[in-house]
Amino acid sequence: MLEVHQLACARGNRTLFRNVSFRLEARSLLHVAGENGSGKTSLLRILCGLGAADAGEVSWRGEPIGVLREAYWREIVYLGHANALKDDLSATENLCMACAISGRWTTTASARDALAAFGLAACCGLPVRALSQGQKRRSALARLSLSTEAPLWVLDEPFNALDAAAVKHLEQLIGAYIDGGGSVVFTTHQDAAISTRVTQRVDLDALSATAEVAT
């Protein structure tokens, strides 16, 4: 499905990574590993088409994503570092809006259910500014359970700021999604139990080390 060919990315004079190539099929879980500043977020943004690569190509079902554009974005869900929540809206309103912006229709009731599954039943009517960091992250992640029909999730540090119960719920969600035929690209610094399900790994530190040896 997703094919990455000889991807390279530089920031200023510094090469973050190069020669990143992999193929992602359905039902796979790809862990992008690397130290802080190794270019994990940049790689994920390039995969989504938010950032531009300095070399190489990303294709989806055989076609470059730069050509597919909206047709590709319809099929992916990207959750970045930023939660994309509006402080003045409630968690439910935020979730409905996030779904509408991405082009998926949802009802207030199903949004509330998704939030309740993440343990936010009591505060889904409060303005998001009143929520804690972890609760904000959860309300952003609740979007995933409403987007299971999208074939690819790209998650940047999804486990950040979550407590044990929420981590467990997210792992179950990702597990069920992969069993249902979806695939996930994610980064994390935590030793999550989901690591047992990882089918592929891209280690940006190892890649940059080999690149330095080659030059």
Binding site: N83, L85, K86, D88, E93, C96, I101
Partner: protein
């Protein structure tokens, strides 16, 4: 999900946000009132002079108030990551941009249109000129929002973007300002305002057909 449904939700969202942050709306309206009221105070009670400069001053004040609100158009969506999600939407970005500009026009410019006749009274404009003033603003301000959106998208995330935005956008506002104040002056002189109003409407339509694509391109550039 059809495009019109996405547009409707984005407009509803931005209007809800504007309502929950209504002090922002009030500040630009009050700014408009204060700027337009300082001139009669400074120039003194000279009916003929006030009548001559009135339309231009109300228009300049509206231009400045409208520009003041521009930086809010994308800034908060940029800061909290919502704009990223808009860039990755299955709906074309230019459609979302149109929806955002419509909501912005309603929240930031419609109040100016409604309050402008009151300010016109200070300059002793006759009632038919007041009506033309409101109509000219209603037809002209959409192009201000649309052109301004290009500037707001280009200066997104820059330090000192506010001043740069003014330098970029204000010269482009000149045609709207000229046509808008000419429409009112023509009415006070007993001439037809219609040609100017039609030209203002034409400018707004031209901006509507071109600006959203330019804004979408500028937003994508600011993320790369």
């Amino acid at each position: 999900m059809p495009m019109t449904a996405v547009m409707r939700s984005v407009i509803a969202r931005d209007l809800t946000l504007a309502w929950r942050r209504r002090t922002d709306v009030f500040t630009s309206v009050i700014f408009f009132v204060i700027v337009a009221s300082l001139f009669p105070l400074g120039i003194g009670p000279e009916p003929k002079l006030l009548l001559a400069i009135g339309p231009g001053i109300v228009w300049v004040a509206a231009l400045l108030a409208s520009m003041l609100a521009l930086s809010r158009l994308f800034a908060s969506d940029y800061a909290d990551g919502t704009l990223e999600q808009m860039l990755l939407s299955a709906t074309p970005l230019s459609v979302i941009v149109i929806a955002k500009v419509i909501a912005h026009w309603i929240a930031a410019n419609l109040p100016l249109v409604l309050i402008a006749p009151l300010l016109g009274l200070q300059f002793g404009l006759p009632s038919d000129a007041l009506a033309v003033l409101a109509l000219a603003l209603a037809l002209g301000t959409p192009s201000l929002s649309l052109i301004g959106a290009i500037g707001a998208a280009l200066t997104l995330g820059l330090r000192g973007g506010g001043v740069l935005l003014a330098l970029l956008v204000l010269p482009l506002y000149a045609p709207v300002l000229i046509l808008g104040s000419l429409a009112v002056e023509a009415t006070t002189a007993g001439l037809a305002a219609q040609p100017y109003l039609l030209l203002l409407a034409a400018l707004s339509l031209a901006a509507l057909s071109l600006a959203p694509w330019a804004v979408a391109a500028a937003l994508r550039i600011s993320y790369e």
